[in-house]
C-alpha cells in the first residue's frame, strides 16, 4: 500500500477499488471430478436461453394489446382539442398493474419503448424512491429527459442552432441547480419546436399550424401508491398549470384500485385536473398459466420439472408474491441446478440425434457415472442375468442407453398431447376431480398411477353420465387438441392408441352420435315387453317374493335401458380411458428419466425459500453446523461444552427455563458452565459456586443476553425486576 501513495505524511488513504469487475468464471464453481461438467453447463445455458426466449414471446404477446390501447390513448389525447372539450385537464392513463410489484419495472421499460417507438419523443419513468420531495422529483425528470435527448441536442448545437442555449443545458445538467416545472416546459418547447431553417433533414418535420400536433411529454409514475401524497399533489397542480401550453400525458401505475387511489392519495383539488382513463394489465396468474401451458408442459423444451417441483414453485408464486419475474428466477435456478448436479443431464437435448452423438462419445468415466443413476439401477435389476451382463459391458450399455433415451422421447411426444386432451375433457366437470388447472393435472399424473387414482375414476364416472350434447362437445374438443400437435415418432406406438388414429376414432363417435338423431325411436320397442309383467305382480303371495321380483325387474330394466346412445357413450369413454392409460404412465418408472426431470425440491427449498428464523435457531442450538469444532458436536444431543460460543450457552440455558427467567439464576448457570474446566472434576465446580462471578463472565453473559434480546428471544419485562420474559415457546 505504501507504494501506492506519494504522500510523505502518515494517515489513512482511501483507494478506489478496481473499477473493472472480476469476470465471473462459472467453470470455477463446477465440479472438477466430472469431466463433462463444462459441457453440461453449456447445454444448460442453451436450454435456459430457449426457455427464456419462449417466455419472452409469451410476455410480449400478452402485453401487446394493452400497449396498443395505451399508445392509442396517448395519441388521441395529444390531438388538438376541439372547442367542445377545451378543458385544461391533463390526460391521464391509470394502468392497473396488479400487486406483482417486482414485475412492474420490466413492464414500464417495455411500455416506454412501445410509446417511444410510436409517438412520444420523451418518456420519463418516475419511481417513488426518486421522488421523496419535489426537488428530487424534478431532478429525476430532467435527468431522464436530458439522457434521452442528449444526442438530439448535441446535433442541433453542431448545426449552429442557438435556440437551445448551451447555458440552459449546462444549468439543467448541473446537479446542484434546482429545477422547476416551468424550466422543463420552456426547455421542452424549445427542443420540440419545429426547425424551419437549417438543422438536419431528419429533424425537419412538417407541422400543420392549424392542428398544432406536438409530441407529448409522457411521465409515468411506476408505483403511485408509494409516492408521498404532498409531492404528488403539488406535482399534479404544477402540471395542470402548464397543461395548456405543454402537451403532457401522465401514466399512473396503480397496484391496488383507482377508487383507493382517488380517495386516499389524491385530493379533490388535484383530481379535478386529471382526465383519467383506466387500463388493465394482464393478470399475473393468467401469465403464469400461459407459461406453464406453452413452455413447461410441451415437447418443445427438453428440460422438465417434476410434479413436486413445479407445485413448489407455483405455490411460492400463488401464496407469496404473484411475481412472474421471481417465478422465472426460480425456474432458471431449477434448470441450471439440474445441469450442474445431474450427471445424465448431458442427455437432455432437444433432438434425439444430439443425444445419440453424445452417447457415442462416452468415456469410461461417463459410463461409470451414468450407471449409478437410480432409475437405471432399478431397470437393470428388473432384468434377468444374461441381459444384466450384456448391459454391464460398455457397448451393451451404450446401445441400451440409446434405447432408453429414444423411449423417453417417444413417451414425451405422446404424453403431453394426451395430458392436454385429458385436461380439456375434465376441466369443465363439476367439482373438478382432476383440478381446474393443467398444472394440477400434471402433478397428479406425475405422482399417481392414473388407473388407481380416485379423482380419475370419479372424472370418468362423471363423463359416463354426460348428456349427448356435452359428450359431442367434449369429443370434438379432444380431437381438436390431439390434432393441434405434431407427432414425430409415428411408428413407435400401437396403431390403435396413436393420437391421429384416436382423433379419427373420436370423430367417428361424434358422427355416430349425430346420426342417432335420425333413428331415434328405437328404444320404444323395448318398453312394450314390460306390460305383461305388470300383471304378474298381483299374483304374488308373500312379501319376499314381491321383493325378489321387483329386484329382478329393476335389474332387467337397467340392462335393457342401454340405449344406442349409451352404448356409444360407453364405448367412447372406455376407449378414452385406455388411450389415457397407455400414454399417461408415470415417468418415474422409465430408466434415465432423471435426464429430463428435475426433482430436487429440497434444493429449491434450500436456495429459494429463505427461513431466517430457522437458520438462527439451528446456529444457536447446533453451532457445529457452522463451526466445525469437534467438541461442539455434542451440542445437538443436549451437552453444553464450556467452549461453546457464549450466546449458544445462554440460548441453551434459556431453553430450559419457563416463561419468565431470573437473570441472576441464568448468570450463575452460565458461569458454572463456562468455568467448568475440562477434566478437573466436580469439586472444582462446587467451589466455583461459592466464588463470586468475575467481571469478565458477567460482561460475557450480559453481552450474550443482549444479543438474544436483539434476535428476539427475550425481552425485559416490567412485571418483575431482574427478570426477562421469554418470547418463544418452550418444547416442554
Amino acid at each position: 500500500m505504501d507504494e501506492a501513495t506519494f504522500s510523505v505524511s502518515k494517515g489513512c488513504f482511501a483507494f478506489k477499488g478496481d473499477s473493472k469487475e472480476n469476470e465471473f468464471e462459472t467453470t470455477k464453481y463446477l465440479k472438477s471430478d466430472d469431466a463433462r461438467c463444462a459441457e453440461r453447463w453449456k447445454l444448460g445455458t442453451e436450454v435456459w436461453n430457449n426457455i427464456e426466449i419462449s417466455t419472452n414471446e409469451i410476455n410480449s404477446s400478452l402485453q401487446e394489446s394493452m400497449f396498443l390501447d395505451l399508445v392509442k390513448y396517448i395519441e388521441r389525447s395529444c390531438l388538438p382539442k376541439n372547442a367542445m372539450t377545451g378543458r385544461s385537464e391533463i390526460p391521464t392513463a391509470a394502468l392497473m398493474t396488479g400487486v406483482n410489484m417486482p414485475d412492474h419495472a420490466a413492464l414500464f421499460v417495455k411500455l416506454k419503448e412501445a410509446v417511444e417507438e410510436s409517438i412520444a419523443q420523451s418518456v420519463v419513468i418516475l419511481q417513488s424512491k426518486d421522488c421523496s420531495n419535489i426537488k428530487s422529483m424534478m431532478r429525476a425528470i430532467v435527468n431522464q429527459l436530458l439522457g434521452d435527448t442528449g444526442m438530439n441536442t448535441s446535433r442541433t448545437s453542431d448545426a449552429g442552432d442557438e435556440d437551445i442555449a448551451s447555458d440552459d443545458l449546462y444549468y439543467m445538467r448541473k446537479k446542484s441547480s434546482t429545477i422547476t416545472m416551468s424550466m422543463i416546459v420552456k426547455w421542452y418547447n424549445k427542443v420540440t419546436k419545429p426547425h424551419s431553417h437549417g438543422g438536419s433533414p431528419g429533424k425537419k418535420r412538417k407541422i400543420d399550424d392549424t392542428c398544432f400536433a406536438r409530441k407529448p411529454l409522457v411521465i409515468m409514475c411506476q408505483d403511485l401508491e408509494a409516492f408521498p401524497q404532498l409531492v404528488l399533489h403539488d406535482f399534479i397542480i404544477m402540471c395542470s398549470f402548464h397543461a395548456a401550453t405543454l402537451p403532457m400525458v401522465l401514466v399512473f401505475g396503480i397496484a391496488t384500485s383507482w377508487t383507493d387511489v382517488s380517495q386516499r392519495l389524491l385530493s379533490h383539488s388535484a383530481i379535478v385536473n386529471l382526465s383519467v382513463e383506466k387500463f388493465h394489465a394482464p393478470t399475473a396468474s393468467e401469465h403464469l398459466a400461459l407459461i406453464i401451458d406453452k413452455v413447461l408442459l410441451t415437447t418443445e423444451q427438453p428440460f422438465k420439472l417434476s410434479g413436486k417441483c413445479l407445485e413448489l414453485i407455483v405455490d411460492v408464486f400463488l401464496c407469496h408474491d404473484f411475481s412472474i419475474t421471481s417465478f422465472l428466477h426460480a425456474l432458471k435456478f431449477c434448470a441450471l441446478e439440474h445441469f450442474r448436479e445431474q450427471p445424465c443431464s448431458i442427455l437432455c437435448t432437444k433432438s434425439l440425434k444430439e443425444a445419440e452423438s453424445v452417447i457415442s462419445k462416452f468415456t469410461k468415466n461417463d459410463i461409470r457415472l451414468l450407471k449409478s443413476v437410480d432409475s437405471f439401477k432399478r431397470y437393470v435389476a428388473s432384468h434377468d442375468k444374461d441381459k444384466q451382463t450384456a448391459i454391464s459391458k460398455d457397448a451393451g450399455f451404450k446401445s441400451e442407453i440409446k434405447k432408453c433415451i429414444h423411449d423417453l422421447h417417444v413417451f414425451h411426444s405422446f404424453y403431453f398431447p394426451a395430458l392436454h386432451c385429458l385436461h380439456i375433457l375434465t376441466s369443465s366437470l363439476p367439482q373438478y376431480p382432476l383440478g381446474k388447472k393443467i398444472r394440477e393435472l400434471y402433478h397428479m399424473c406425475y405422482k399417481h398411477d392414473i388407473n388407481n387414482h380416485e379423482g380419475f375414476k370419479q372424472a370418468f364416472l362423471l363423463l359416463g353420465v354426460s348428456s349427448r350434447d356435452q359428450l359431442v362437445k367434449h369429443l370434438n374438443n379432444c380431437a381438436d387438441t390431439l390434432e393441434s400437435f405434431t407427432y414425430e415418432f409415428d411408428d413407435c406406438v400401437d396403431n390403435d392408441v396413436h393420437p391421429n388414429f384416436a382423433s379419427a376414432k373420436l370423430h367417428a363417435f361424434v358422427e355416430n352420435l349425430e346420426k342417432m338423431d335420425e333413428n331415434d325411436p328405437q328404444p320404444d320397442n323395448d318398453e312394450k315387453d314390460e306390460e305383461p309383467e305388470n300383471e304378474t305382480l298381483e299374483t304374488v303371495k308373500y312379501a319376499y317374493q314381491l321383493q325378489e321380483r321387483l329386484r329382478n325387474r329393476a335389474n332387467k330394466k337397467r340392462i335393457r335401458k342401454m340405449t344406442r346412445f349409451e352404448k356409444i357413450r360407453e364405448e367412447a369413454i372406455s376407449y378414452l380411458k385406455s388411450f389415457f392409460w397407455q400414454h399417461l404412465q408415470r415417468v418415474q418408472f422409465m430408466p434415465f428419466h432423471e435426464a429430463f426431470y428435475f426433482d430436487s425440491s429440497a434444493a429449491v427449498k434450500r436456495h429459494l425459500l429463505a427461513a431466517p428464523r430457522l437458520a438462527i435457531q439451528t446456529a444457536l442450538s447446533n453451532p457445529y453446523q457452522y463451526l466445525p469444532v469437534p467438541s461442539l458436536e455434542g451440542m445437538s444431543y443436549g451437552v453444553i461444552p464450556p467452549n461453546a460460543p457464549d450466546i449458544c450457552v445462554a440460548y441453551k440455558l434459556h431453553n430450559e427455563c419457563g416463561n419468565i427467567i431470573n437473570l441472576y439464576d441464568w448468570m450463575s448457570a452460565f458461569h458454572v458452565i463456562t468455568t467448568t474446566n475440562h477434566g478437573e472434576g466436580e469439586t472444582n465446580s462446587e467451589e466455583n459456586k461459592k466464588v463470586e462471578i468475575d467481571e469478565v463472565t458477567q460482561a460475557r453473559f450480559i453481552q450474550a443476553v443482549s444479543e438474544l434480546q436483539h434476535l428476539g428471544f427475550v425481552k425485559p419485562t416490567k412485571k418483575k425486576t431482574d427478570h426477562v420474559q421469554r418470547l418463544t415457546w418452550s418444547h416442554s
Partner: protein, 432 residues
C-alpha cells in the same frame, strides 16, 4: 377606464375595483394587495385579465411551483427582466432580491408601477417567517414603485404567524350566486350551440346539483359530461329542441346518477362519454351500472395476513384468547361483560395499532396449513404497507417490534375473507 365585461361574466365589480385601485400606470399604488376568495371563483383569471389589459409590467409566480425561496426569487427576476436563460439570476436571500430588483427596474427604465403576483400565496406561510412581511413591505424596502399582490384561498387571518406583519389591502371575491353560475356556465358553452337551448340545460343542471355543490369546476365538468346525453334525442330527431319537458325527463335520471358520484370522479370524462355512447346506441333510458373493479387480487398468504391484521386492529388484545385458543374455557358471563360498552366499539373508533408478533400469532392460527416461516412471509408485510393496506406506526427505526395498523374497510376485508371461505365476522369482537 372601461372594460369589456363580456370576457369575464359576473366579476364586473371586482374588475372595477382592481382597476380603480391600480389607478394610472405611473401612480404609486398601495404596496400590497391581498386577493382572496374560494377556489375557482375567478381570482387568477380576473387579475391576469386586468394586468394584461392595462399593459403594465407584471410577473405572476406560482408559489407551489417555486418550492424554494431562491427559485421563487429567480422566477420573479426572470419574469421581470424577460431573460430567457435559465439560471441567469441567482438570488438566495431577500437582500439580493431587493438589490437585483433595483437593477432590473433601472435597466428597464420603468416609471410605472410594477406588479408582482404571488398565486397560491398560502404556501408562503411555510417558508421562513420573515419572508411574508418583507414581501409585503417590498415597496418600502426597495423604495421603488412595486405592488405585491397575494392571491390565496384563505382569509388574511390565517396568515398571522406571530411576527409583526402589516395588513395589506384586502380584495374579496365572493362565491358566485346561482344565477351567476348559470351565466358563467352558459358563457363557456361549446361552439355552435344555441344559447337559449344551452341555458335551459344549465338551469336543469343547476336545479339538480346546486344544493350539493357550488363549485364551478365540478359543475362545469358535470355539465360538459352530460350535455351529449341531453342532446342525444334531439340529434336522433326524437324530440324537438324546444321540447323542454321531454328533454328534462330524458336527462334527469342521468343527472341523478351523477349526483351520487359527485366529487368522486370514479369515472373520467372520457370514460363517461364512452359508457353513455354505448347506452345511447342501445336503449337510452337504461343505465348500465358502472363496472366496479375495486377488488384487489392478492396472493394467498397476503390475504390471510391482511385478515389477521384486521382482526388484530379491531379486536382488543385481551379477547385473542377467546377467539384463537382451543378450549379456552368458559367465559365468565358477568353482568358487566354482557353489557357492551358502545363507546369501546372499535369499528366506530377506528383501527388500533398492534405489534407484529400479535399479527403473526393470529396469522398462524387462522391459516389451516402449516406455514413455513420463510422470509417471503415477512416481505409480504412490507408489500402490504407499500400498497397502503397496512400502515406502519411509529418510527422507521423501531425494528425490534414494529407496530402496524390495518387501514382497509370492513367491506373490503369481508370481500377478501369471502374468497378464502373465512367467516371474519365470527372473529370480530364488535359483532359477537
Amino acid at each position: 377606464m372601461s372594460h369589456d365585461s363580456s370576457a369575464i361574466p359576473a366579476r364586473g365589480k371586482q374588475i372595477e375595483q382592481l382597476i380603480s385601485i391600480f389607478g394610472d400606470p405611473v401612480d404609486v399604488t398601495m404596496p400590497a394587495l391581498f386577493v382572496y376568495g374560494h377556489s375557482s371563483c375567478g381570482k387568477t383569471i380576473v387579475l391576469n385579465h386586468v394586468l394584461e389589459k392595462l399593459k403594465v409590467p407584471h410577473v405572476v409566480v406560482n408559489c407551489t411551483e417555486c418550492y424554494t425561496n431562491s427559485v421563487l426569487f429567480s422566477a420573479i427576476l426572470q419574469g421581470l427582466s424577460g431573460d430567457n436563460d435559465l439560471g441567469s439570476w441567482k438570488c438566495d436571500n431577500l437582500n439580493d432580491l431587493g438589490r437585483n430588483l433595483r437593477k432590473v427596474y433601472e435597466s428597464q427604465s420603468w416609471n410605472e408601477t410594477v406588479y408582482i403576483v404571488f398565486d397560491k400565496a398560502e404556501r408562503l406561510r411555510d417558508r421562513e417567517v420573515n419572508l411574508l412581511p418583507a414581501l409585503i413591505n417590498l415597496q418600502e424596502l426597495t423604495s421603488l414603485n412595486f405592488c405585491v399582490i397575494l392571491v390565496s384561498e384563505l382569509p388574511w387571518e390565517k396568515f398571522y404567524n406571530g411576527v409583526g406583519i402589516r395588513q395589506p389591502f384586502i380584495v374579496f371575491f365572493p362565491d358566485y350566486t346561482k344565477s351567476e353560475l348559470g351565466e358563467i356556465l352558459c358563457h363557456c358553452r361549446p361552439d355552435g350551440v344555441d344559447r337559449e337551448f344551452y341555458q335551459h340545460y344549465i338551469s336543469i343542471v343547476l336545479a339538480v346539483f346546486s344544493l350539493a355543490c357550488r363549485d364551478l369546476r365540478e359543475l362545469k365538468h358535470l355539465s360538459e359530461l352530460n350535455f351529449s346525453t341531453y342532446c342525444a334525442p334531439v340529434k336522433a330527431g326524437k324530440f324537438d329542441e324546444g321540447d323542454k319537458h321531454k328533454l328534462w325527463k330524458h336527462v334527469e335520471p342521468h343527472l341523478k346518477e351523477a349526483l351520487q358520484q359527485l366529487y368522486l370522479r370514479k369515472v373520467s370524462s372520457e370514460e363517461w362519454m364512452k359508457l353513455h355512447d354505448i347506452t345511447e346506441s342501445g336503449d337510452a333510458t337504461v343505465l348500465k351500472p358502472v363496472k366496479n373493479s375495486d377488488t384487489i387480487e392478492l396472493p394467498f398468504y397476503s390475504k390471510f395476513l391482511l385478515i389477521a391484521a384486521y382482526i388484530a386492529s379491531y379486536n382488543p388484545a385481551s379477547t385473542d384468547k377467546r377467539f384463537f385458543v382451543k378450549n379456552a374455557g368458559r367465559m365468565k358471563k358477568t353482568a358487566r361483560s354482557m353489557k357492551k360498552d358502545e363507546r369501546k366499539n372499535s369499528h366506530l373508533r377506528g383501527p388500533h395499532a398492534f405489534p407484529l408478533d400479535r399479527m403473526m400469532a393470529i396469522f398462524y392460527s387462522i391459516v389451516d396449513s402449516r406455514v413455513p416461516p420463510t422470509a417471503n412471509i415477512f416481505s409480504q408485510i412490507s408489500t402490504l404497507v407499500t400498497l397502503h393496506l397496512l400502515a406502519k406506526i411509529g418510527h422507521e427505526d423501531e425494528i425490534d417490534c414494529p407496530r402496524y395498523k390495518c387501514t382497509v374497510s370492513l367491506d373490503f376485508i369481508s370481500a377478501v375473507a369471502k374468497t378464502m371461505n373465512f367467516d371474519i365476522v365470527r372473529y370480530l369482537f364488535d359483532f359477537v
